[in-house]
Symmetry: C2
Subunit: 340 residues, 2 copies
């Protein structure tokens, strides 16, 4: 039973009094073996506690049953629920996932590339918009790959994300409906497509409400808490104050809120603030942050399903799958001061 060395297919074959080929068939293509035989095999499997050696199987098949998930930062609060979605879906199809983080370090990226090339992963899920492998011509040898959140830099690879434009539009429409006219968009960035799409939603909303350019303040930022605080200081120094801050993500919004609170302002009485992503922290701010919730588990599930499809028939489906994010109304938004 629970011996020192695990049972092999041969042990099972001996006990079931068949050949190893029949055992293998009984497991993977049961319709090809006689009922009576199949029964014997399964009994033998139960007796020995046999599980197929995945190493040997992968070697023989030339492909593993692992999916490599690469993210720039495992600690990103946006990450963990996606992972749950990815993992559940993978496991349901007999795959496991394997997680790596690059910390934007090309050296580490290369190690993952080696990992992929040594056949240890059948597929790749990429969290950043860029391939973490420098510009290796090796690209040709990449396995099936799916992006999450953003399309992958060199293009052609499918990805799953949310409709950032629509999400941003929901936020701007809310602010406009509350009566805000002068609105700042904090955290514009050309490096992340998701961010420029949020900016796009902002502009479209302002356009639709016939807001003139002087009512729109746009300021750069990289999406960290610090960047939000910094942007706020800049605006105060330049005396270009809006009545509402629409931030490119929750971190930025938190930075803005902390800055405003530190200056003694009350949210939402003096200023309104919105975020994007709904990271766990946002619900606990005071006031709780109005934001857009990413359907994280769904994104993960969808991305993995897409990858497994790709693995199955090798057909590349639509390059872009956008899920619809939900508006989460909390207390960081109110009418502008003048209207109160």
């Amino acid at each position: 039973m629970s011996n020192s060395t695990p049972a092999t297919i041969e042990d099972v074959a001996r006990i079931a009094e068949v050949s190893i080929a029949t055992v293998s068939r009984a497991i993977h293509t049961p319709e090809k073996v006689a009922n009576s035989t199949r029964l014997k095999v399964h009994q033998a499997i139960a007796i020995t506690g046999y599980t197929t050696n995945a190493m040997a199987r992968s070697l023989r098949l030339g492909r593993s049953n692992m999916i490599l998930v690469v993210a720039p930062d495992i600690g990103d609060p946006n990450f963990s629920n996606i992972l749950v979605g990815l993992e559940n879906e993978a496991r349901a199809h007999g795959y496991g996932i394997l997680i790596g983080h690059t910390q934007n370090d090309a050296q580490r990226g290369l190690e993952y590339l080696k990992f992929l090339n040594s056949n240890q992963a059948a597929g790749l899920i990429l969290f950043t918009g860029i391939l973490p492998f420098g510009h290796q011509t090796m690209t040709a040898r990449l396995p099936a790959t799916v992006g999450v959140f953003e399309p992958i830099y060199n293009g052609g690879l499918p990805y799953v994300g949310v409709d950032d434009v629509a999400g941003a539009r929901k936020l701007i429409d809310l602010l406009l409906a509350e009566g805000h006219r002068k609105i700042a968009f904090i955290g514009d960035s050309r490096t992340r497509l998701a961010y420029s799409r949020r900016r796009q939603g902002f502009e479209e909303g302002m356009d639709a409400a016939n807001m003139r350019p002087e009512n729109r303040i746009v300021i750069d930022g990289d999406g960290t808490i610090e960047s939000g605080r910094l942007a706020l200081e800049q605006l105060f120094m330049q005396d270009r104050l809006p009545t509402a801050f629409m931030c490119v993500n929750d971190q930025t919004a938190i930075g803005v809120m902390l800055g405003l609170t530190a200056r003694g302002y009350n949210i939402p009485r003096d200023f309104s603030v919105t975020g994007f992503d709904d990271v766990p922290l946002s619900g606990f701010m005071s006031p709780p942050l109005t934001t857009i919730r990413q359907p994280r588990t769904a994104i993960g599930k969808r991305a993995m399903a897409l990858l497994l499809d790709l693995l199955g028939d090798g057909v590349t489906p639509d390059g872009e799958i956008l899920l619809m994010p939900d508006l989460v109304v909390r207390n960081s938004v109110g009418p502008p001061k003048g209207l109160r």
Copy 2:
């Protein structure tokens, strides 16, 4: 160069004009091949872009180069930095990590057991105090295993954590030094050893200050935000109010703080609150939470190092490695109301 099928050791051997055995030796035991030969082999490797097929290697060696990390919940804020430590250390030694979460579901636990038995992981890192595999006698076949945070239920397995007693002691000493005399310990639990050790630190500190039992309020909780809020309500209903709340972890403390704020109290003017763990959220509460910082990356690194040792010589080292956690003083603690 970048062909459809990856280069094998045979391709390298052909180009270098040696046997595959020599190639293998040139890679793994370079001192055993002549300098000139080694050079030829490495050139051939460069030309072909060869990387060892990990499947074949693991099959031959009878052990993989993957470590399975199992946690009840990937999303746990305590998790991610540990992971960074684990991963860095593993990668530095040629291992990769593989992450699974059980969500306390025995069925899922069993799937991981199968995974282990199919030889896909050389070692196991366990985040919970319990083996997630029900009570399989299979336990005998577990690979090298190291626990994180807590000893593993059925004992005998080494683990790496922090000195919870000492950490709790730092907190209680701080509260006592501020002048608090009547202190509540929120979140006592017999299910998690870490928690009862924190309780123990609380008691030892109170003992050392000769505090009588009637000054100690102890109340149950499972460590969630909700449990903190609930405990607080109970205390208000029973009219057993302390001047300070020492909470078993940050989540609990956050629950208590939210409850106090909702009732209109000011922290730390009316009540002091402490946590334990220093999850990212804690620094952003208002007021920021005074707590104990877990050396998370260090724990991860240490646990992995321990596991790799175990894998190396099979010798089980000391069963318990406790790191010292640091006190993080923020603004949630002040003198009790009477003393102000």
